[in-house]
């Protein structure tokens, strides 16, 4: 084992096993000792944070077809006819 490879896969496995929990605490995550020295796991964390950040931009893209509103209208007319809903 060379000095460059001080990170055994066991260290990485252990760190990655904790990741789902660590992600809930930004402070714990950034301060984690393993990240200070493991490039691969740092890259992993950056990617996952990047994906989470990009997801926030995914909001409203799709429009329903106009048929949806037609159906809603018909259903509402039916409901008011069927139900004796008087206010």
């Amino acid at each position: 084992m060379t000095s460059k490879q001080t990170h055994t896969s066991r260290d990485c496995d252990e760190f990655q096993r904790q990741l789902p929990e660590l992600f809930d605490s930004e402070q714990e995550l950034v301060a984690h000792a393993h990240l200070q020295s493991c490039q691969n796991c740092s890259a992993l964390v950056r990617d996952l944070e990047y994906i989470a950040a990009q997801a926030k931009l995914l909001l409203p893209i799709h429009d329903p077809s106009p048929a949806v509103w037609d159906n809603i209208q018909h259903a509402l007319i039916r409901e008011t006819k069927d139900g004796t809903k008087t206010s």
């Binding site: 992600f23 930004e26 990047y50 997801a55 931009l57 893209i61 429009d63 206010s87």
Partner: protein, 227 residues
Amino acid sequence: MTKNTLRTAEKVPSPTPSQPLTAEARPVQQQQRRNPPIAGELAAIASAQQGDGAAFEILYNMHKRRVYSLCLRMLGNVAEAEDLTQEAFLQLHRKISTFRGDSAFSTWLHRMAVNVVLMHLRKKGLPLVSLEETLEPSQEDGPRKDFGTRDLTLSGSIDRVTLERAVEELPPGYRMVFVLHDVEGYEHNEIAGMLQCSIGNSKSQLHKARMRLRNLLRQNADGKVDA
């Protein structure tokens, strides 16, 4: 089936430039940022509560896109998403008189839509939480040590359309938690309540979803370079 609809995403400009957000952006701020007050909404709500059909139509037009996008992402199917959008707004019509304004109207409505989708999936007998992890721990979701040498991180390499397509490819259980948490901004305790799973389960599903997305996006990025 969903592909054609999703293509339209390309034409929609990104509302915010892709900026590195801190991972702990506060959910409340998220809710406000995602559900900003809409001009005329309060008046429309008040009128709709009095049974004004035109006001209800205004509310529909204000919120149809968000509600439908939510349904589509959770279900991955246009026909079902349209049916459930319809169902969500019919429920809104039945319940709007109970809206008291304690929370943002959109937050209230979206929660209603989420419940409609979840109830639909339960009726179909589908597990809301992915069973994959217990059935077969997939190699690709496990820890990775080798990233190849090309580029170490994804940062800056994905756009919304690419991510959107990758999200579509997620297994339903992973997609559900990813959409609820990372896209819609719900917290793990809320998701655990909605999906009737443990908080730890919600966290682990989210993690697996992001890991799967990373692999999909990396393949995609590699494909681009190789092409």
